[in-house]
Amino acid sequence: MTVGFFTDTTICIGCKACEVACKEWNQIPADSHGFSGESYDQTGGLGANSWRHVAFVEQRVPLGPEGGRPLVKDAALRGLAEEHGVPTEDSADGLRWLMSSDVCKHCTEAGCLDVCPTGAIFRTEYGTVVVQEDVCNGCGYCVTSCPFGVLDQREGDGRVWKCTLCYDRLKDDKEPACAQACPTDSIQFGELDELRARARRRVEKLRSDGLPGARLYGADSGDGVGGFGAFFLLLDEPEVYGLPPDPVVTTRKLGSMWRGALLAAGAVAAGIAGAFLGGRG
């Protein structure tokens, strides 16, 4: 059975309960301290010590059809706000706050797994991608192979760490800690096909309700990584959330790369032969 996450960012409230639950359950060391100045995000991104990361995007969305509502409704909302002196989200200068809990995508075609030279990274019986901490020797190849910048080496430890989709909890028939902690069900755990069907219904509903920017990210098994095990419903382009718009696993071009290296190796041999023969002539 292949399981995964469907992260519906439209109902994320930015509480970071997922980050905390993940840290507690997986006993991840503390990360950065300080003030980033990037909205409410003090985590910065995924890494060895952050396996869930809530992004906060502040946007000034022009009121009107581009904001997803008819002009009449906007005018009515504005009127109501002025009449009652109640500042609504819509009266607040058209500010839109996008929040999204990022996580390892558990790619169907996982670059990290392909390049891992020790076999430390493997695919579990749940279809997820996990690093075996007792095998990893910290070569760091997976760090550069991941198209999403998920994996990183832990300082002072030397090994590479990432989300395990709570492999240990799955074995006990429990959902991952982040999904259980999420108070709005923005993070949904389940069987991947069922999650994808649910996500398609949700995105259609949102679009018909006036959010034309709603889109699924990573729900298509025909994409560059064969579909994500953890996919998302976004309200803007992926790069706005710090995600690559069209990631492709580099292993797909590995055959031609090996051929190129062999060709160049042949050029080295030919060059050496030429250096000896050149003197004879």
Binding site: E38, G44, G45, A55, E58, Q59, R60, V61, L95, D114, V115, C116, P117, T118, G119, V135, C136, N137, G138, C139, G140, Y141, V143, T144, S145, G149, Q153, D157, G158, R159, G213, R215, D236, E237, E239, V240, G242, P244, P245, D246, P247, T250, T251, K253, L254, M257, G260, A261, L263, A264, A265, A267, V268, A269, G271, I272, A273, A275, F276, G279
Partner: protein, 304 residues
């Protein structure tokens, strides 16, 4: 290129590799090409050149695993590299290749320098040379098979950049150590390698276009310019030196330094390429637009 990003944060992670890695790119290439040069000299009966080239190859191939192990986060677990054989992992293939080339070079050098190992030493010479050829270029696959745009998009040229640098450095090292009258092939090899590297580097920069920005800016840009100035003039000097000892020494040292600098410029360019999200997002956006797979028009919503 598309300018939208999350507070300018990189999309992909910069490498965690340390300075040992670019030095290994140099020593691995030097070892492989020197083995080829040594075997060539053994075929033509150039004993003096052969012995020196095997010595260079042995020193370089012995230094390589030391550098690679020192770079690991858990050096004590280096042997896990040989726990599996995996063609999808250039690092794994490279570990096997380096182990085999190291063994063969040890036997071959022992035979050529000390008369040890008898027939197995003799038999190891072609094996060491054959394994040495891919040892000079597999590192290009190692770097290209990553999500670092400036490495991945240079996948066609990078093997030839490393091949040229390896050949030039092997030629230069042998030319430095061998009496001038026996070093003709080494000098010609230096010139050939430098020419190959120069062509490959120029082609790589040209084809990378906007993505090649790291080779023109910052630390990688400075290293690139220095590598060209030092390495190319050094290679040229060795090639045209004839039997003038001073020109060979000056040019040889410069060619070796140039080969090290060239590996460093590629290495540092990877960091700069990963740091800037536009290098990751831009090409993907363009590809989507070309394929018409863009589900939504690029938004024009400004960030606050």
């Amino acid at each position: 290129m598309s300018g939208r990003s999350y507070y300018g944060h990189p999309v992909v992670k910069p490498p965690v590799w340390k300075p040992e890695v670019p030095f290994y790119l140099f020593t691995g290439g030097l070892a492989g090409a020197s083995a080829g040069l040594a075997f060539g000299a053994s075929l033509t009966g150039d004993r003096e050149l052969e012995r020196r080239a095997w010595a260079v190859s042995l020193v370089a191939v012995a230094a390589s695993p030391v550098l690679l192990i020192a770079d690991l986060g858990k050096p004590g677990r280096f042997y896990n590299m040989l726990r599996v054989f995996k063609v999808t992992s250039p690092m794994n293939v490279g570990s096997w290749l380096l182990a085999a080339a190291g063994g063969a070079t040890g036997l071959a050098a022992g035979h050529a320098l000390l008369g040890w190992f008898g027939r197995s030493g003799q038999a190891a010479k072609p094996a060491a040379a054959a394994l040495g050829m891919p040892l000079t270029t597999y590192t290009a696959v190692l770097l290209s098979n990553t999500s670092i745009p400036v490495w991945h998009e240079a996948r066609r040229e990078l093997p030839f950049v490393f091949a040229g640098g390896s050949v030039a450095s092997a030629g230069a090292a042998a030319a430095l150590l061998t009496p001038p009258e026996r070093a003709g092939p080494a000098r010609r090899l230096t010139l050939l390698g430098t020419a190959l590297e120069a062509c490959a580097v120029l082609l790589m920069e040209r084809r990378l276009g906007e993505l090649g920005e790291p080779y023109r800016q910052g630390t990688a840009g400075r290293l690139t310019r220095l590598a060209k100035a030092v390495g190319w003039s050094g290679g040229l000097a060795v090639g045209l030196a004839g039997r003038r000892r001073g020109a060979v020494i000056g040019g040889g040292v410069a060619a070796l330094a140039g080969a090290v600098l060239e590996r460093w410029s590629v290495f540092r360019a990877g960091f700069q390429s990963a740091q800037d999200p536009k290098h990751t997002v831009g090409p993907q956006r363009r590809r989507m637009e070309e394929q018409g797979s863009l589900a939504f028009s690029p938004g024009g919503i400004p960030q606050t």
